[in-house]
């Protein structure tokens, strides 16, 4: 556990350091949101219909942005060698990296999401469900993303490749989260999709570190 807390603290410090991580993702999120009315026309009725789904989708996309830094930096500067010879197994390190990514990237995105949704014209009453989905679904995005990031170590085209690997895997969480938000807005049963999202995120959090560690070992070998 000591090893886990050590690496978690380091990952958190690194992802917040220099403002690169969260600021970049938040900026991307806002920029995309500001383009939506420009692309669709600022007709409120049309915006209300698409705003929640759009905000959710772009949250998923924004969480892709800093994935490349998740393993690549440690791989290139040799820190991954050191981490592999430490007190915690690589699976633990992978878990810590995923959680740090979640705290530094998707957490702030989830907090920003209701502002984006409301700015696009959706009712304020959607805010709680949007934040909840963002925080829970964000776990899926971070850990699935971590699988893509670790698998593409040592490849020639990191960023695009990660997106190509990861986006199809995002299908279930995107569907469940959007379903929960939509059902909440329509006063339908939103608990079922939210529970599905929880289940998927928990499974991703539990299983993805194994794939990430296997991929990292493969890259180091």
């Amino acid at each position: 556990m000591r090893g886990f807390s050590l690496v978690l603290r380091r990952e958190l410090a690194l992802s917040w350091a220099g403002g690169g991580g969260p600021v970049l993702a938040l900026g991307f999120y806002l920029a995309m949101a500001s383009l939506l009315p420009l692309a669709l026309g600022a007709d409120p009725a049309r915006m209300v219909a698409v705003a929640p789904g759009f905000a959710w989708l772009v949250l998923a996309l924004a969480s892709l942005l800093s994935l490349e830094r998740m393993f690549e930096r440690d791989f290139e500067d040799g820190a991954l060698d050191l981490i592999a010879l430490g007190p915690a197994p690589l699976e633990m390190t992978a878990l810590a990296k995923g959680l740090a990514q979640w705290a530094a990237i998707t957490g702030p995105l989830a907090v920003l999401a209701p502002i984006v949704v409301v700015a696009l014209g959706a009712p304020l009453s959607l805010a709680p469900i949007v934040v909840t989905c963002g925080l829970i679904g964000g776990l899926s995005f971070c850990f699935l993303g971590g699988v893509g990031a670790s698998l593409s170590l040592g490849s020639r085209r990191g960023g695009v490749l990660i997106a190509l690997i990861v986006l199809p895997l995002f299908t279930p969480p995107v569907i469940f989260g959007a379903g929960a938000i939509e059902a909440f807005g329509a006063a339908l049963d939103w608990r079922a999709p939210l529970l599905l999202l929880c289940a998927y995120s928990l499974a991703a959090t539990a299983l993805c570190p194994f794939a990430m560690a296997a991929a990292a070992r493969n890259a180091l070998s």
């Binding site: 090893g3 050590l6 690496v7 380091r10 410090a13 690194l14 350091a17 220099g18 930096r73 440690d74 290139e76 500067d77 040799g78 820190a79 991954l80 060698d81 050191l82 981490i83 592999a84 010879l85 430490g86 007190p87 197994p89 070992r217 180091l220 070998s221």
Partner: protein
């Protein structure tokens, strides 16, 4: 605690190319081995295979402790240092943050990390960002974990390349103390090590060990 390692007919391949085959070596407590060989002969791969990062295509590495054989994974995770070509330092962090993490990660403490940094002459640099340090200073920062956290087996890959003569002297002392305390050193080095070390040629086919 690792008291001896024996490498038994180890073979390492990279891609379709066999780098090392039938490599034998026994290393006892208090002993240092200097791996020699031309570039690309497989010295780095050998060290990484001993560290368990590369899976050998044949043969094995056995770690012996006071009470017999230790599982390789436990042995390297608890009791081996690997200093590679890269220092594993983050440019955006301060030298002290990085030295402390490296020391704590390998089992050292704040006090031992501070003492190790002082020993390697890094005291005044610790508040600086790593990006401000020279190559030699960065290497010394990485070497500090050798002194900060007591681990028996040192796997060193060209540890002295960026160091100047005085620093090599300090590093030599560090290695001599480690050996005197029953440590083991397996080092790849083009330049002769500043300590007495048994030379072993890598990449010349099978060896007698």
């Amino acid at each position: 605690m690792i008291t001896a390692i024996s490498i038994e007919s180890l073979a390492v391949a990279r891609g379709d190319r066999a780098l090392i085959s039938g490599f034998n070596l026994t290393l006892d407590a208090g002993e240092a081995v200097a791996l020699a060989g031309r570039n690309g002969a497989g010295k780095t791969s050998l060290l990484r295979a001993v560290a368990g990062l590369i899976r050998p295509s044949a043969g094995r590495v056995v770690f012996h402790g006071e009470d017999g054989e230790i599982a390789a994974e436990d042995a390297v995770a608890r009791d081996a240092h690997l200093i590679g070509h890269q220092d594993g330092l983050k440019l955006s962090r301060t030298a002290w943050d990085e030295a402390l993490f490296q020391a704590e990660w390998t089992g050292g403490t704040t006090a031992s990390a501070r003492a190790a940094c002082a020993r390697l002459g890094l005291g005044k640099l610790l508040g600086l960002q790593v990006r401000k340090l020279s190559a030699g200073q960065r290497r010394r920062l990485a070497l500090a974990r050798l002194a900060a956290s007591p681990r028996s087996l040192w796997l060193l890959d060209e540890p002295m390349a960026p160091l100047d003569r005085d620093q090599r002297g300090v590093f030599g002392q560090l290695m001599a103390e480690h050996l005197a305390g029953g440590g083991l050193i397996l080092a790849a080095a083009h330049d002769p090590l500043p300590i007495a070390a048994r030379p072993i040629e890598v990449g010349g086919g099978e060896n007698a060990g």
